[in-house]
Amino acid sequence: MKQQGVSLSNKELLSMFEKMLLIRIFEDKIHALFAQKLIPGTTHVCQGQEAVSVGVISNLSKEDVITCTYRGHGHSLAKGIEPKKVMAEIFGKSTGCCKGKGGSMHITDLSVGALGSFAIVGAGIPVAAGAGLSFKYRHLNHAAVAFFGDGASNIGAFHEGVNFASVLKLPVVFVCENNLYGEYSPLMKTTSVPNIADRASAYGINGIVVDGNDVLEVYRVSKGAIDDARAGKGPTLIECKTYRQKGHSRTDPGKYRPDSEVREWMERDPIRLFGDYLRSNGIMDRSSEEAMSSRVNQVVEEAYQFALDSPYPSENELESNVYN
């Protein structure tokens, strides 16, 4: 890991690390709570993929926007939704970012530019293109980022959304998190190309493969693409090679994955890699790390308490918000 072509201050680097830690600890908590049957419905956690959301979103301001998927807690936290609002939403409480009406698969907070978690595979992609269209329309140099999985690159909405953004030269970056699996199916079984980024050429745009567990690489590459988008050069497709450390959803243990594969990827844990980098470059020491860790733990515990203490939505919520 190195800081090639990237100039981030120590403060910024530490803040990125803290974001990744927040996502990890948040997701670990969700995973445990779900296993204890304290969380209703389903959840899709993202441990192991923190470098993607944090690496990309660290390039964005509040005016820039993202769309993500049912596996969207990480992006939502990285984009700045308050952890307690995410947690309360996952519990279906009225204090959640969607008043408990959306849940884990639909985390949304327009006030920070998190346009939504889309639970239909691929559905967020054209929506991000539309947000990009609005920036171009208004001559704003903001960018829209669509996050989605490797499996999503097989669905029509991906094709149409990327092509649309390319034809209209919209300020959109398409970030594919290739975590090697779509649900229980290994990517290679259901996809006709080795790299999702290879599909970029079908739309006349750049496709870039990046190590998705190296947050600095993700930052660097996505910075280039986002800058291009802002500069009116149109979209880019970035493929981040990463790994879903847990199963697909709920309590799936992910037994269909070879042990060796899991082991190898655990060794390349993005937080471990980035932590090593920060420590070995003297940017983070044990005590600052511990302080950070306990701060983050506290944030997550507080979010949990907040969710627990919050009321469920009342009956008048049932038929409200159908239109707005």
Binding site: C98, G100, G102, L110, G116, A128, N324
Partner: protein, 333 residues
Amino acid sequence: MSSKVMSTININYRSAIRFALREEMKRDDRVFLLGEDIADAGGVFKVTEGLLSEFGPSRVIDTPISETAIVGAALGSALMGLTPIAEIMFSDFTAVAMDQIANQVAKYSYMSGGQAHVGVVIRAVSGGGISFSAQHSQSLEAWFAHTPGLISIMPSNPRDAKGLLKSAIRCGRPVMFFEHKALYPMEGLVPESEELIPIGKSEIRKEGEDLTLVGASSTVATCLEAASRLESNGIHSEVIDLRTLSPLDSKTILGSVEKTGRLIVVEEDVGFCGWGAEIAAQAADKSLYYLKSPVKRVSAPYAPIPFSPALEKMYMPSAEKVYAAAKLLVQGS
């Protein structure tokens, strides 16, 4: 329709829609159009003709043949505060964008706890009668009426088309605006001054005491024609133009049914699980004790729309069918 004097012009349904688009685009520069062949070509039905030269390519956008992207992009831009008006060339093609329409656009507001006004207007060209076969002639309004979060509008004449489209553009909610292709050449008087026709209000086109005919879009004319033939037979029917299918103006419809005691719903759509069933069901619930005779529906049979003009003619509702059904209801034979 109020009869107070107003200055009007005679234009067709197509132009009325174009006028509404133009006025709203002039009024509010957040309003823009996107769709296939709507800019350079002015639309397959020429509805958007001239708007490209007036508003330029950033506000009248030709897109690839990608209805999913069109509707999805409309949603994304609406979330950022714009008011996109997407054209779906034939409403049958809503099927290729059904996820974006029914799962994303329709549900966004609710799932997000009311965070956004989703001001997406989808203009979709519907209806049969010109031998365009089963994939270019459907009336699919019931699918959308059945999907909470979507407003469905079905104008029957130029004035309504204009006034309702303007309201749709301003309402900040997802609207399916169904334009009937066979009505495009229909002429009618439209006020010269701005008129906003309220969403969710039906209109009584003709008063009568003997039975209620409910139509929408193309079938309003069918009802009126049947009504005038019934009139010569001494049967006085009341004709209601739905205007908006969802939200439904139950008050006006059931009020009329309670007055006349008889109801025939006339829809171009397939009857089975169509919107006529909803109206009949509401009558059977709320107005049962007023009903003097069975509630009838004149709708398309349970089959796709046939191409052959000979078959299509039998397939469509007609004034004759309505007339026959009405006579049977009122006179018992």
